[in-house]
């Protein structure tokens, strides 16, 4: 049970982690993340990198959709901008990877602001559809611009750190995990600042927020920029991870995937972005495993995998929205609450 959490100052009340127990758990999590590549097999490290990249992108979308209330179906296309920026910089300029990732984030933020301009006049569903249009236009650019290599796309050399090529998942792990952790921590802290609070005010009622003196356009565009920055960095890590970027790498269905991830995880909570992206990335793998077990009984089970995956994907979105609209984060909170009061209330 939870005791001794009385606060004597606002600073203590606003702290991200307020009890020693939380710090202990956090240290354990960090330690297990560090130890993970030494004990896990290559497949699990590969999955961990993929999950981390998706967590970074989903957290970005959560800033825009979960906290600012602007629905975007362009997250995958924005990741594409980041991935292409990294690929072009790596092949043509050859700058080190951390500069590339930052430039990718900045570039995507600029693109995001341009496509966020319609949010001046439209909102809600109309905005969602404007972002579909944005992703279609970006997709067209990827496929028809000389710089992006047309439909064949670009392939690129691995990132290198102090002369070591980060060409395997277990090496890239040390790039992806810290960057993602930093980004998630940054997002969590964002909502303790004035800007972050302004985002939440706009989500709850934008006209009221404007009356309170929050410049709507500027703040909405800032949210677009931040969210796109996250998408760009995630896209850049994606490019280093797969090392081939093609226009087909970032279809509209991926944007729906990220939106689904934050819905399943819980919109407007940092934990939700993490849980949702992890869950949605692992579900197809679990399905693959189950189908693998079924193969002795159903010989062509593998051919059923793709449609089953599509059905489960849709059913998860619908099921969570109807039965658990607050997502996995709420389930987690319920479990926590149970243990907070544990011996006295069961």
């Amino acid at each position: 049970m939870r005791i001794g959490t009385f606060k004597l100052s606002y600073a203590a009340d606003e702290a991200l982690f307020d009890t020693r127990v939380q710090w202990v758990w956090l240290a354990l999590l960090a330690a297990s993340l560090v130890l993970f590549p030494f004990v896990a097999g290559p497949y699990w490290i590969y999955m961990a990198c993929l999950v981390a990249i998706n967590v970074a992108s989903a957290t970005g979308l959560n800033i825009l959709t979960g906290y600012t209330g602007l629905v975007s179906l362009g997250q995958a296309a924005f990741m594409g901008v980041g991935a292409y920026t990294v690929a072009v910089l790596e092949t043509r300029v050859g700058t080190p990877f951390f500069i590339n990732l930052l430039v990718a984030g900045g570039m995507t933020a600029a693109v995001g602001v341009v496509f966020g301009i319609p949010s001046l006049r439209v909102k809600g569903l109309y905005l969602a559809i404007a972002t579909i249009a944005a992703s279609m236009i970006l997709h067209f650019l990827f496929a028809h611009w000389d710089l992006t290599g047309g439909t064949r796309g670009l392939s690129m050399p691995p990132a290198s750190l102090f002369g070591i090529a980060l060409d395997q998942p277990h090496k890239l792990y040390w790039l992806v995990i810290p960057v993602t952790a930093l980004m998630v921590l940054g997002a969590a802290n964002l909502f303790r600042t004035r800007v972050g609070r302004a985002f939440i005010a706009i989500r709850d009622r934008d006209i009221s927020a404007e009356v309170l003196g929050i410049p709507l356009l500027q703040t909405k565009l800032m949210s677009f920029a931040l969210s796109s920055f996250y998408a760009g960095v995630a896209g850049g890590m994606w490019a280093y991870f797969f090392r081939v970027v093609t226009p087909e790498s970032f279809p509209l269905i991926n944007s729906i995937f990220y939106l689904a991830a934050i819905i399943v995880g819980g919109m407007g909570t940092i934990l939700g972005g993490i849980l949702g992206a992890t869950f949605m990335t692992l579900v197809p793998e679990v399905l693959k495993l189950v189908v693998g077990w079924l193969t002795p009984w159903i010989p062509d089970a593998l051919s059923l995998l793709a449609p089953i995956r599509t059905i489960v994907f849709g059913a998860l979105i619908v099921g969570f929205l109807i039965f658990e609209p607050q997502g996995l984060a709420e389930i987690w909170q319920r479990i926590r609450r149970f243990f907070h009061l544990w011996p006295f209330k069961t």
Partner: protein
């Protein structure tokens, strides 16, 4: 410039546009009554095509028996979807309901792929294929008859909306739910009816679209063009769906034949962004005034 060619392209575009308009009307019906943006409309249309295929090729029914059955199946699907997925979401934010329809689209696409495989299929020929000439311009007979049927169906829908009891109830519900309810209109039934009518229309449109271009599990992409149509026309306007449908059909056909097939989506979506910037609620849509 060869004007005959331009005319032919434009005619083909208008023919395709008639189908967009028909599906757009289905979309608007749902939006008007229930304020739900149904992104699954493309997948419902696809399911219509597949059900028709299954009834004709699988069950061996005659084509004229299969068409009404397909439309009935569409209506049944609409009723089930409204009751099971949309009714529980009443009062939730529009975004959540919108995501539910995206999920529904994904489920339907998966079911179709599970049942019929991922390969494209051809529907049996049932549209007469004697060439049609309007003046000198040639028009593919399938497109022409498809457009004709679509026009008749749209006319039927407009007349029903204007004069029938259900149509009046639907318009009353669209105007003011509370007032409609207090005048004795069963709003829940109107919701259900609008979904049934819309899904039946979409399933019928699916048969025509499938007869023209074949059916495949990726046919749901048709829904994206329909989405552009209704946004351009205005989400709650039947007239908007008509004008938008023809306009988008025309733009797609012209862009497709003079710039190249890959420019189709670029042209329509650029038009969409332009319209959104100038008239955010579409050409004929109602401008909703927000109050605190």
């Amino acid at each position: 410039m060869d004007w005959l060619y331009v005319t032919e392209v434009a005619l083909a575009g208008l023919g395709a546009g008639a189908l967009y308009a028909l599906t757009g009307v289905a979309f608007v019906l749902i939006y008007k009554a229930t304020r739900v943006v149904n992104l699954a409309i493309g997948e419902i249309l696809m399911l219509g095509g597949y059900v028709f295929f299954g009834l004709v090729a699988g069950a061996g029914l005659s084509i004229w028996a299969a068409i009404p059955l397909t439309i009935l199946a569409g209506a049944a699907l609409g009723a089930v979807v409204e009751r099971a997925l949309i009714r529980p979401m009443l009062g939730e934010s529009p975004i959540s309901v919108f995501m539910v329809t995206i999920g529904l689209g994904s489920i339907l696409a998966g079911v179709v792929e599970l049942g019929w495989g991922a390969d494209p299929l051809r529907l049996p020929e049932f549209i007469p294929n004697t060439p049609i000439f309007l003046g000198e311009a040639y028009l593919a007979p399938k497109v022409a008859y498809g457009a004709l049927v679509a026009a008749l169906l749209i006319a039927g829908a407009v007349i029903a909306l204007r004069f029938s009891r259900g149509g009046v109830a639907l318009r009353a519900t669209a105007r003011d739910q509370g007032a409609a309810y207090s005048m004795g209109i069963d709003v829940g039934r109107v919701f259900s009816l609008s979904w049934m009518a819309a899904c039946a229309t979409a399933a019928g449109a699916g048969v025509i679209v499938g007869a023209i271009g074949g059916i495949s599990p990726t046919m749901g992409i048709f829904g994206l063009s329909v989405l552009v149509v209704v946004i351009v026309g205005g989400l709650d306007s039947v007239a908007g769906a008509l004008v938008g449908g023809l306009l988008i059909g025309l733009v797609e056909a012209l862009a497709g034949s003079f710039l190249g097939g890959e420019y189709k989506l670029l042209a329509t979506f650029s038009l969409l962004i332009l319209i959104l910037m100038v008239r955010p609620y579409g050409i004929f849509g109602t401008h909703e005034i927000e109050r605190l």
